[in-house]
């Protein structure tokens, strides 16, 4: 505990031009893009399911989850298999490029924005040298209640 409270290991991945961080203990593996089977009549950001070594694993496109314009998959596109509330879920990201240690004191609360809905899944931001990382709250990323709200507002 002593060590953990001072620093935390995170996986850094890229979406569009921003860099995001998730705690390393929540990450099971990082996979190259593979065949994804579409599942009909699910939320738009649910890309489908993959065969992850014999286990059918749901895949979420983080770009569409965060409302970023979708882009075709490239050589660097990765699926991060994250374990969120005892479920394995794959997150499609543009690239997964780093593992870093964050000082816990360096984590700042998310910047106040008018659209608080978006800030729900942002746990905080961390500035290391000249890079800014957004630390995600993964269970909020999955939570469908917030999404339903969003849909209701939009719809």
């Amino acid at each position: 505990m002593g060590v953990e409270s001072k620093s935390m290991k995170v996986i850094i991945f890229q979406l569009d031009r921003e860099e995001y961080a998730i705690p390393v203990h929540q990450v099971g593996s990082i996979e190259r893009i593979m065949h994804i089977t579409r599942v009909p009549r699910t939320s738009s950001f649910v890309e489908g399911v993959i065969n992850l070594r014999g286990i059918v694993t749901p895949i979420i496109d983080l770009r569409s989850r965060f409302g970023i314009e979708t882009a075709p998959y490239s050589e660097s596109t990765r699926i991060i298999i994250a374990n969120i509330e005892e479920m394995d879920v794959g997150l499609i990201v543009d690239a997964a490029n780093d593992v870093l240690d964050f000082e816990v004191e360096a984590i700042e609360p998310p910047p106040e924005v008018i659209d608080t809905m978006e800030a729900e899944y942002v746990k905080g931001v961390v500035k290391v040298e000249k890079r800014l990382f957004i630390l995600l709250n993964l269970s909020k990323v999955l939570s469908t209640s917030e999404i339903k709200e969003l849909e209701e507002i939009e719809g």
């Binding site: 579409r38 599942v39 009909p40 009549r41 399911v49 059918v56 749901p58 394995d88 879920v89």
Partner: protein, 666 residues
Amino acid sequence: METNQYLDLFIDESSEHLQSINDRLLELEKSPEDTSIVGEIFRSAHTLKGMAATMGYEDLADLTHKMENVLDGVRNDKIQIDAEMLDIVFESVDHLEAMVLEISQGGTGERDIRRVVELLQAIELGDALDQRKKEQSLPADTTPFQENSVDEFTRTVLKQSKEQGLSNYHIIVSLREDCMLKAARVYMVFDVLEQMGEVILSTPPVEDLENEDFETDFQVLFVTEESREDIDAKIMKVSEVHSVHITEYKISETENKAQVPSAQIEKDDSSNENNGASSNSKQALNKTIRVNIDRLDVLMNLFEELVIDRGRLEQISNELQHSELQETVERMSRVSGDLQNIILNMRMVPIEQVFNRFPRMVRQLSRDLNKDIDLRIIGEETELDRTVIDEIGDPLVHLLRNAIDHGIESPNERKKNGKSGTGSIELKAYHSGNYVFIDITDDGGGINREKVLKKALDNQVVTSEQAEKLSEQEVYELIMASGFSTADTISDVSGRGVGLDVVKNTIESLGGTITINSQLGEGSNFSIQLPLTLSIISVMLVEVQKEKYAIPLSSIIETAIVKKEEILRAHNKEVIDFRGSVVPLVFLKDVLEVPIELEEDEYYSLVIVRKGNKMAGLVVDSFIGQQEVVLKSLGDYLSGVFAISGATILGDGQVALILDANALIK
């Protein structure tokens, strides 16, 4: 690790013994004069007590002990069997079950059992008075052993030996007060005795004697051919023995009533128990082993991987057209097919496991509701996959409660309608084809069509126009719609809003169906059809545009290819004339929102599926073929997706979704 192993064994065996106690108690209630049943209960309780004490679960051992005392009283005709007494014993068993459950969940098995213990003691004491009276009437010198310490096995053995012309002696051996190695002397005395006959019982028990946990005297019950003098002389040869006192041991009158049919077996049991060993020797004879269910699950999972790879190998060998490879793959497929049967069989469990808790439940409920109910169970040996067994319990409980509460009328009402006062419920399980059927039939009031319709209209489940058109069958199905309860008063037992719709959903999620039949005034029948196994199923693979879907063979009637001109339109719906009946078409590409990439053909490929007596034609683009696939869940995150019941992994490693045909038929 080691204690864990024992713990599992303890939990397994305790549950088995408790179940057997439960069963026997119910039998006993039906035929209270049959003392052999009490003997069996007593034996289970005794073993349970021994195990609990060994494992250090004191409350468990204590309660079992108290129960045992009461049973002993029953066995010796000192306690009358009546409903109140059985209620208390049942309650004790409930407590014991709760304790075992807690232990199995990692608890300590401690529980507040004072009330039950007091009740049990009250029964016991009430009869202890009688017992004392009886004892006074017996000659004083016959039984120095306490009545309670001579259990049934001992008595039977003694009786048997008497019949065989052997003598039963009660021997009191006193060692010299300055004896140094008491245990050794005891051992020598026993050695001498065992050369001449058999030691049936010793006070203090052998363990205490070995631990030198006694003063200078010990007593044994001894069966032998030898004369009293010979025994005396031989024991006295052991050094440091102060005196030997031998009297003939007589079996008292009351004990004679406690006869057990197969005395020979009892003899084995008793000697086992005297040695402190449980029934290990008996189990060694049985050619089965206990395998942890988790291991079977692991085996199954590994095998599923193999089935996926088998599919892949088959595909590769077909592509390569290499004859030796094809031959090998074919052989491998055959072997793995056999293996599949064996593994699936291993996971089959008799439905008894679920059924055997029902007699208790029905008894309790019928007492609570003041109804007389006779539950008949047929086919409890029918086997089902473990996963199904785990899930089917609750729906069955619900249906039974329903039958007792809503189905069976009160005794007065029954008599008024010219039926016998005792209602009967039949629970029947049987195999048929690839399915297992479970029928619950009662001879109660049946389902009142008008009442159901009125309720459905009140709850806006149907409109009045619809209601008129509904067939009997469809009306019955209404009672499984959400929030339906036909009992006039909402009781504790059933009808709490969460009704039969939950039952229906559970059964459908298991790939099964439920149908209801009823005759007003004569009773109802609920019939559940379940697949034998859930993990590996046969499917038809189809393509919808570029996507592959699997349709379970169990819901397919046949496939057909029709020309576009053959499609008829009725009410803006496209239908076909299929062997004389009008079958609506379901365009999968629309329902499943499949991206369109291919040109439409002038032929439609149809998969005709059915749900009960309704049919639908699923329009697909091409048929791939039939295949055995491993059913995988989509996981919690994607549960409840419309018309998809699961997923499977195909030979090429891709995931294909399994369609739920039931959801596609309206």
